[in-house]
């Protein structure tokens, strides 16, 4: 029988622990496909965050490092400076990258480290059970914004691509989504380009992926995809924010 579809080679056989309808699985696949297509698995080193994707180190077949919460870009910097010919990526959620690790994120981007960051924005803290994230939308009900996020007391959501686009050094910043097939196709292109930039020595690339969290949003997987389309994309517009590649 002919094989018409298979798991990327750079994903391990470990069973993903993600909830039904969560889009982490799609993004893991896109990262693995990029690694496979560029033929770089043997020289890639990934850095996992603290958050739902904390166990990404079990899922990617390349060498992996588990970082402290928010520190993945600093850890990746240490790796890249030690092994400049290797490919180094971080995979981080919104709490990790845009809240506790914002300083590391901005500084690493500002230095233009030749690394690739995959940033999952699902507007919530998933692993700890659905608390308000720096990217939670105004009015969004979470465990720690039970009356809906209020701009007056809880501030406005942070737009990471827009923020980083003010810096000189980053080479490539794009926001994509994985809530529909066309969006997944565009996300795949963006992720591949972010890795290719690094392989070609071009510099810092970050791909923000609007992702879903049906469990903590209290929505079905289908409704969660609609939420991305109707609520998230209007506030977090998709597109390229910087491309010096």
């Amino acid at each position: 029988m002919a094989v018409v579809f298979q798991k990327p080679k750079s994903l391990t056989d470990a069973v993903l622990h993600y909830c039904p309808g969560c889009t982490h699985g799609i993004v893991h696949r896109l990262v693995a496909e990029a690694i496979d297509e560029l033929g770089i698995e043997g020289r890639t080193i990934g850095v996992a965050p603290v958050g739902c994707s904390v166990m990404a180190y079990d899922y990617f077949g390349c060498d992996m490092i588990e970082a402290a919460h928010g520190r993945a870009p600093a850890v990746a910097t240490g790796v890249k400076r030690s092994m400049p010919d290797n490919v180094v990526f971080t995979y981080q959620g919104d709490g990790d990258l845009a809240s506790i690790g914002l300083c590391e994120t901005v500084s690493t981007a500002c230095r233009g480290e030749n690394i690739t960051i995959i940033f999952i924005n699902n507007a919530i803290y998933g692993m700890t059970g659905g608390q308000m994230a720096p990217t939670s939308l105004i009015g969004q009900v979470t465990q720690t914004s039970p009356y809906g996020r209020d701009a007056a007391t809880q501030g406005m959501p942070i737009r990471v691509c827009e923020l980083l686009s003010t810096l000189e050094a980053p080479v490539y910043l794009e926001r994509v989504a994985v809530n529909s097939v066309p969006h997944v196709r565009q996300a795949k292109k963006a992720v591949l380009k972010a890795f290719k930039n690094q392989v070609e020595g071009k510099g810092f690339s970050l791909i923000e992926v609007l992702s879903t969290c049906p469990t903590n949003w209290g929505l079905t997987p289908e409704k969660a995809c609609q939420f991305v389309e109707e609520k998230m994309i209007p506030f977090y517009p998709l597109g390229v924010f910087k491309d010096r590649a």
């Binding site: 850095v47 079990d58 060498d63 992996m64 600093a74 850890v75 240490g78 030690s82 290797n86 300083c103």
Partner: protein, 354 residues
């Protein structure tokens, strides 16, 4: 032949680290250790190494974590308030069993404190320099020569026992200039990662992936890693305790002191001996593991102990524990950046002799 040069303690650490094969330094400016960063910023670019001024102490120690994961000899340095920020990273380094060198040139605290010398991070460094059950190797140099020598020792012990190692010195040690014979350049930095099969250097598609990690969600597994780590610590304590004894053969009073206060104490001991007071000194060189055995042995014959410290009485407790409170343990201390004069220490010794 290694050359003898006149150097600041901080610079001696930096040059010694380079000669021991360290090519990756990550740091953040803070007095009184900044000479280390300044020295590295001059030297590293010329030898193909990395000097990176990080955005914070937290970032610096995490960059060290990354470089250590790839098996490189790597280091960071700071002073007390900065070490508080590095505590998270120290815990992760220990949890992932990564060797790295951390230098703490202590200043007075708590809080912003001052910039003058102190030994007040003693508890912090020897008891638990971060969350969780772990230790780091803590070495306490008392000369610029020892700062250079212990830089090598810290790298070697850290790698042997797979744990972070610290040079813990008071600000005086970092700032003072003394003649020092620097170590020979004998380590090829490129050869080091190959000795670490656990390092994340890329699989090369030739082996299963390596994972550097401190997360164990199954409690029985986490318990096992903790117990295994403490077995290594026990081995470390058995094999690697270091100390210096000075005029202890006939001593009735045993001074216990490290760093600059050990040097001041030596002068006071010489003066006290002239007065006929039988006093000697045990100078712990490893603070973790603490040299309990020589102190316990000394307790069998001396009348009392006198710790001389730049804190409110921290090593004093370790001496009491080492001798099981079998003898009186007095203290001569100054804090906040003040250093006792040899006359002050002599007076404390005279009191003990009464």
């Amino acid at each position: 032949m290694a050359e003898k040069v006149l150097m600041k303690g901080n610079e001696a650490i930096a040059e010694a680290a380079i000669r021991c094969g360290c090519r990756h330094y990550f740091g953040y400016p803070i007095t009184p250790q900044t000479e280390i960063a300044a020295y590295m910023s001059k030297r590293m670019p010329k030898i193909g190494g990395t000097f990176l001024q990080a955005e914070s102490e937290i970032a610096a120690i995490n960059m060290v974590y990354g470089a250590a994961s790839t098996g490189r000899r790597t280091m960071t340095s700071s002073s007390s308030p900065g070490i508080s920020l590095k505590a998270e990273g120290l815990s992760y380094l220990a949890g992932a069993d990564l060797p790295a060198l951390i230098v703490n040139i202590q200043r007075g605290g708590p809080g912003l404190g001052g910039i003058q010398p102190s030994q007040s991070d003693y508890f912090f460094m020897t008891r638990g320099p971060g969350h969780g059950d772990f230790h780091i190797i803590v070495l306490a140099p008392a000369t610029v020569q020892e700062m250079a020598d212990m830089t090598r020792l810290a790298f070697e012990l850290g790698e042997k026992y797979r744990m972070p190692a610290m040079l813990l010195a008071d600000g005086t040690m970092g700032q003072m200039m003394e003649p020092v014979v620097l170590p020979e350049e004998s380590v090829d930095p490129e050869s080091i990662p190959a000795t670490k099969p656990w390092a994340t250097t890329g699989t090369g598609m030739k082996r299963a992936h390596n994972i550097v990690n401190s997360l164990y969600l199954k409690p029985d597994e986490l318990e096992k890693t903790n117990i295994e780590r403490f077995e290594r610590y026990a081995q470390l304590e058995k094999e690697e305790c270091r100390w210096e004894e000075y005029l202890m053969d006939d001593a009735e009073i045993c001074v216990v002191s490290v760093g600059i206060t050990a040097r001041v104490s030596k002068n006071a001991i010489v003066a006290a001996r002239k007065e006929g007071i039988k006093v000697g000194m045990i100078r712990p060189i490893t603070l973790y593991p603490f040299p309990k055995a020589p102190l316990a042995k000394a307790a069998e014959k001396v009348k009392s102990f006198l710790t001389v410290e730049l804190n409110m009485g921290q090593m004093n407790e370790d001496v009491k524990l080492a001798i099981n409170c079998s003898k009186k343990v007095s203290m001569c201390n100054r804090v906040g950046g003040m250093i006792p004069s040899s006359d002050e220490v002599l007076e404390a010794i005279r009191k003990e002799a009464k």
